[in-house]
Amino acid sequence: MRAAMGAGEIPGEYAGAQAGTSAGMRAARVVLLVVGVLTLAWGGYVLLDTQRPDQVVGVLVWIVAAIVVHDGILAPLVLAASVVLRRSGRRLPGVVLAILQGAVVVGVIFTLVVVPEIYAKTLGPANPTVLPGDYAFRLGMLWLVLALLTALLIGLYYLVGRNSLVERNSAARRD
């Protein structure tokens, strides 16, 4: 699975452990760990101190929900899209695939941020100066601009820069 991901896997967290045996390193880690745990504990205390128990449960439920939505839905969808795109586009050059993927990711990130805004606007904002724009239309325009930019970039790659790009890539690999 790791081989399939554009990113690959980070080395096991103990890969550098040999380098971390010096006393200074150990001291730094202990200090950081203590500071981190105390800061975290303070946050937990503030949470318990300022909210009712049912609200604290609400926070925990939303934290778990955030993890589930990201790790269980969002990331697998991105992985699936990436695999499908790469399989169906095996004849396409890597650069073209990268441009396509990039455009989709930019569009999806904007959509994630803007859709709650569109929905909140349908609920009726607190006053007319909150959310004054037509965000759905603007999001549509953004996708359109993205599509045009993508076509332009890919066209540019095929028409003009293919050779020079390939050269630059192989030059970059020799660096």
């Binding site: 303070w42 300022t50 609200q55 934290i63 790469r86 095996r90 909150v130 603007r138």
Partner: protein
Amino acid sequence: MATVLGRLLGLAFVVCFLTGLFSHFLQQPESWMRFPTSPAGLYAVTQGIHITAGIACFPLLLGKLWTVFPNLFQTPPVRSFLHLLERASIALFVGASLLEITIGLLNTYQWVPFPFFFKQTHFALAFVVIGSLVIHIAVQLPVIAEHWRKRGPDGKPLYGELEAYRATDGKDGDAVDTDVLPGGVTGRLMAYIDSAPRPEPSVSRRGFLATIAASTVALVVLTAGQSFALLDPFNLFGPRKRGVGPQGLPVNRTAEDAGVLSSAVAEDWVLTVRNGDTVREFSRADLAALPQVDVELPIACVEGWSQLARWRGVRMRDLADAVNAPAGSAFLLRSLEERGSFRINRMGPEYVRDERTVVALELNGETLHLEHGYPARMIAPARPGVTQTKWLSSLEVTV
């Protein structure tokens, strides 16, 4: 790659944390605290940065999580009790970070669909996130140190951690390690995923970073106009727009919400200024008869939007002098509002004595609009919007 994003994200988190703390203490100061009143746009800038950096965290955090997503499926899932603790802290780090930036974003347009208080939770989770970040750095310190150490003669890193990993273990990306894959449906799924062709690592790495960079820059450019005048023409997705609102200024709390529709326009309205037994009452006509000053000060809201405006009214320190308030006194500002946590707000002496702090009667050349605090409102330099008390009812010397 995870390191580049990690550094940027860590920086964004720290910036959000510090600007957030500044904003917190401006709104809920300890009585001994004093704050700078110059430059007058200080809070507009720090809170603009807070909100903008928070928005930039969306692509940065999603990108960072994508680079470490495979770690979720590491085998065996748990190696030891310590490893379990580490994974649990990562889960908390990820969940709290996602929740923190999400509720922050929703709050910028005053949408609170969650079953807990925004302000208190956002404040508490900030410590959870920063604490988890520090723990994460402690755990990863050897890897981070190793990464910094691997530098060429020109000072540039020789390897990113991924490249270092690929050089030793990644081998040919297109090869499928069938011997380590489980069988059955999972195995076939893994094989299917792994057999998908991979673009060259250099293309895929640069493409990925370019994508995250483009998303971050585009999001910032298309939203930050609500906080920074320079980007106003590109403000397509910010929840506030400069110039939109009565007298060309956005509104946070309306007169109707505040319950002041009748009290604010009452004929017998007076502003009471009190220092112990010394009490003066000023009608709006009385205030207008006092020496007037013009100031140009921003309204800068905790939700990140800000806008410069021209205000005209009576200097706060003239009113303080009218009741012989000592030079170091703080004031309680009271609003006509019937409810709300900022109905009564304490103004420290540094603002009381600043010559730009004004009880405003006019805004942008017109009589102050009811939505902006008619009959009179406070406007002080470098203070959060929520403390710029609208619909003033009294000013009282306090300790």
